[in-house]
């Protein structure tokens, strides 16, 4: 992933060092902004020189080079300002490393609630994930200069903030989930990166929602190989080749989820992971345990006051489950109360298309899918919805009203 002549095996190890070294620098009193810049330079130098001259202690090497850069930067700044500098000639000794804590500490810095989500994501990928600015820019399809500016503005915003107090874990989890959901396209595998970071986070905190998030990512990621066909077309869950699902990832996700649920403090990510686990558990689509999925959705919407307004996405998921348990008409009725909140979104229309299809009402399904396609903001999604509309319409023409095949999600 990182450009340059590094051996493939080295990269993961190198990137794992980034949060440790950075946390060490910040803990001993270096400015976060300057320390992060210095470490980024040290990282680029490591990629250049390590293949030829591997260091004996990579962590110490990175810390030493970053420290030298910090001293250099202070010197040149001092020269610019024509004033003496107070930097010690020898860097102070780093405090004892606390590895799990380092990740958590840096995640709290990068996911500071005062930063905008896009900045939190970029800063996290660089300072905790150890990605280069160029890689992050490529992952989000923006020019490198734009991403560099976004990162340096974020760091400027952090200046003067106290970074020693425990931050907001809910924000950290949201940021990692944002990284995951952004990550199914592009040269950099952001989904894998988010899973790596979430795994590190679960080593640093007992919080069940952190494990719930890791489980959710694993249980979804396991289905990724089946989600697109070789032409890049979306394959819906009920038509995926379940033999392509990653059984090892599912097993790990289930294990992580169980350890979280055992703590008896369920939350949004644990519940969503439980739904994902039930889908993963069905050997065939018809074996999906919809009543249990509906029960989890009931728990999910109960987390929020007035969920139709404040968590319509959960309500929409519940409507699908309800449609499978109590019949498509019940599911469609449940979507009605969401019209005000998300009736202008593609997903609301797509769900209604699915429920109409389930009901055997193909003309209504085609109309809903066409509405959804007109509101999609993703080309693969849009093309998928157009296909579904066209297929439903062709199906309707083949079996005129009155002779509809009732029920069933197939065509």
């Amino acid at each position: 992933m990182i450009d340059g002549p590094t051996r493939p095996g080295d990269e993961g190890a190198l990137r794992a060092l980034v949060p440790r070294v950075l946390a060490g620098l910040v803990r001993r009193g270096e400015d976060f902004d300057a320390a992060e810049d210095a470490l980024q330079e040290a990282l680029l130098e490591a990629l250049r020189t390590w293949p030829e001259h591997p260091p004996r202690d990579p962590q110490a090497w990175l810390a030493a080079v970053a420290t030298r850069r910090l001293v250099d930067a202070r010197r040149s700044q001092a020269a610019r300002h024509r004033r003496e500098l107070a930097a010690p000639a020898e860097p102070p000794q780093p405090v004892a490393p606390e590895e799990g804590d380092d990740t958590l500490f840096l995640l709290f810095c990068c996911c500071h609630p005062d930063l905008a989500p896009a900045s939190q994501v970029a800063l996290t990928l660089r300072a905790v994930g150890g990605l280069t600015t160029r890689e992050i820019a490529a992952a989000f399809y923006v020019p490198e200069a734009t991403m560099a500016q976004r990162i340096s503005r974020a760091k400027r915003d952090l200046r003067g903030r106290r970074l020693d107090r425990p931050g907001d874990l809910a924000v950290v989890l949201r940021v990692l989930y944002l990284v995951y959901t952004a990550g199914h396209a592009g040269r950099i595998d952001l989904a894998a990166e988010a899973i790596r970071l979430a795994r590190q986070l679960t080593l640093a905190t007992e919080e069940p929602e952190a494990r719930g998030l890791l489980a959710l990512m694993l249980l979804n990621h396991a289905r990724l190989p089946a989600r697109l066909d070789p032409e890049g077309r979306i394959v819906t869950l009920d038509r995926q080749d379940r033999g392509l699902w990653d059984r090892r990832e599912i097993a790990e996700g289930v294990r992580v989820l169980q350890s979280a649920l055992a703590l008896g403090r369920p939350g949004r990510y644990q519940i969503e992971a439980a739904v994902a686990a039930l889908h993963d558990d069905a050997a065939r689509p018809e074996e999906t345990d919809w009543p249990q999925i509906l029960a989890w959705y009931d728990d999910l919407v109960a987390l929020t006051d007035d969920p139709a307004r404040h968590d319509p996405a959960a309500m929409l998921g519940r409507a699908v489950a309800l449609g499978h348990v109590a019949g498509a008409a019940a599911g469609l009725r449940a979507t009605e109360e969401l019209r005000a909140a998300i009736g202008d979104r593609h997903r609301w229309h797509a769900v209604r298309g699915h429920l109409h299809e389930l009901d055997g009402d193909l003309p209504a399904a085609a109309a809903a899918y066409a509405e959804a396609a007109g509101r999609a903001t993703n080309v693969a999604q849009r093309d998928h919805l157009i296909r579904r509309a066209a297929r439903a319409r062709a199906g309707a023409a083949a079996s005129p009203p009155g002779r509809r095949p009732g029920g069933g999600s197939g065509r």
């Binding site: 032409e231 890049g232 085609a366 899918y369 066409a370 396609a373 007109g374 509101r375 999609a376 903001t377 080309v379 849009r382 093309d383 157009i386 296909r387 509309a389 066209a390 297929r391 319409r393 062709a394």
Partner: protein
Amino acid sequence: MPKYLLLKHYRGGPEPHRPVPPIDRWAPEDVEAHMAFQHHVSELLEEHGEYVDAQALAPARTWVRYGGPDAAPVTTDGPHPETSDLIAGYWMIDVESRERAVELAAYVSSEPGPGGTPLYEWIDVREVMWERARTTDA
């Protein structure tokens, strides 16, 4: 080498040479053929070293203007949203000549429509202006 935009429109432009229903009303196999062609165009441009960028634009449109000091921006979806010109997306290409841009636009326009026969869609060809001054005097 000049750069051109090959613009596709949801609506607007000259009278359609071949009026067709919206794509979601085509036969499924015609939809597949049409979409496959779009991917094929991007691949072809890349193979020829002529591809710069391609983007699709969602159809929802909002017109926005400055609302004046201490006022919120003013927005509208247009006086005649159903008749005004609406861009659907574009390819940006970097080619030898205007002739080549026209040739490629015609090829894009030959995309399969209902029944698998060409759509004859009008493609809007626009040259992209250079940002910087040339290094030699003209």
